[in-house]
Assembly symmetry: C2
Homo-oligomer: 227 residues x 2
């Protein structure tokens, strides 16, 4: 599904160069459940953005489902993202002054579904992450963990084949975290490929493979015992 070869991402800030990724090669098969761990600033979110077709490498190649992503136009990338990928961002990226329901519904816009069908799917997704009764709240009317759960519902509403989740339980208490991980586990058993970034060992334990990133490179990549 995912083949990244010698991926580099270099940013310029003023006259200083920040090498966020330094030659990352990674292969992920369909249906895997991968946890990515590493220190703050090590390059995890940068890697996720590239795998999720939200950003392109400075150097190196990335094939998603056999398609060379590096060669595509922005509109083609947007279509791939919408058709195949669900994304939970580290900072949620919800639309302000817009309800939880409308936020969760957003990815369905391009699917030719009626508004009523969109609302039904979005409402079910919100209920699944424990947000019944908060559908009409806008982001500032939601707690941190509730905003994060809206972002998760939004990522799942299109039933994507690939889910990239950057710290999806960072703002959640233990019980809500376990609920969310249970949902992801179930979806993975049904075939969804899951790649998640986490700092928490208990969350990483749900995955069957753990990749550790350090200073823009892959430090280790090993199978882990499944629960």
């Amino acid at each position: 599904l995912i083949v990244g070869e010698d991926i580099w991402k270099v940013y310029r800030v003023g006259d200083v160069e920040v090498q966020a990724l330094r030659g990352v090669s990674i292969t992920i098969e369909r249906g895997e459940f991968v946890a990515i761990m590493g220190s703050s600033g090590s390059g995890k979110s940068t890697l996720m953005n590239i795998l999720g077709c939200l950003d392109q490498p400075t150097k190196g190649r990335y094939r998603l489902n056999g398609v060379e992503v590096g060669q595509l136009r922005p509109d083609q990338l947007a279509e791939i993202r919408n058709q195949q990928i669900g994304f939970v961002f580290q900072s949620f990226n919800l639309i302000p002054r817009t309800s939880a329901l409308e936020n969760a519904q957003l990815p369905l816009f391009y699917r030719g579904l009626s508004l009523k069908e969109q609302r039904t799917l979005a409402s079910a997704a919100l209920q699944r992450v424990g947000l019944k009764g908060r559908e009409h709240h806008s982001p500032t009317q939601l707690s941190g963990g509730q905003q994060q759960r809206v972002a998760i519902a939004r990522a799942l509403v299109t039933s994507p084949s690939l889910l990239l989740a950057d710290e999806p339980t960072g703002n959640l208490d233990t019980e809500s975290s376990q609920d969310i991980m249970g949902i992801l586990e179930g979806l993975n058993r049904e075939g969804m490929t899951v790649i998640l970034v986490t700092h928490e060992v208990d969350i990483a334990a749900y995955a069957s493979r753990e990749i550790v990133v350090k200073d823009g490179q892959i430090l280790s990549d090993r199978a882990t015992k499944e629960r």
Copy 2:
């Protein structure tokens, strides 16, 4: 230092009432180190905002340092906050398109310090949280954990007597979390009162008192063994 009596906070969303806090009474002495825990949506951030004079109760009284905060004008509240309180928000609240250094420097603006003195203090604070080399990055050029650490540096730069930190290590790996908690522990030993919201038991363990919030009320309030 802090005396909250029967604090209620009720929000209206459409024609629905959300009772975020339902009669919370809390007393915190100078120099304490308190951890607040509880489920997502239980009322922790709402309580912190009221204790930090960022928001006022719907009902009930709050005395900070002997002063009835509920009676004050917004400019008086702003002065109290700036003089006495350092605040780490759950969603960081950094100023976009503004460097880490300028963000950390912001609370010093009202203190009659020269720009050079402000920059020196802000730079030292950033170095203390491990952000040397990232001073001139703006928030979008920083990782999630780096943004969180800028928010922490900003909260500490005025050497406040009271620190309210809402999930200060939520985006940090274990090592950075321990570094930050070590800094807070040290400041607490020097007399700073620390109230922190966390979902993580390991982080709560640094405190000497644990308050659990549930459905807008205090469920339990007990002394915990100090490390």
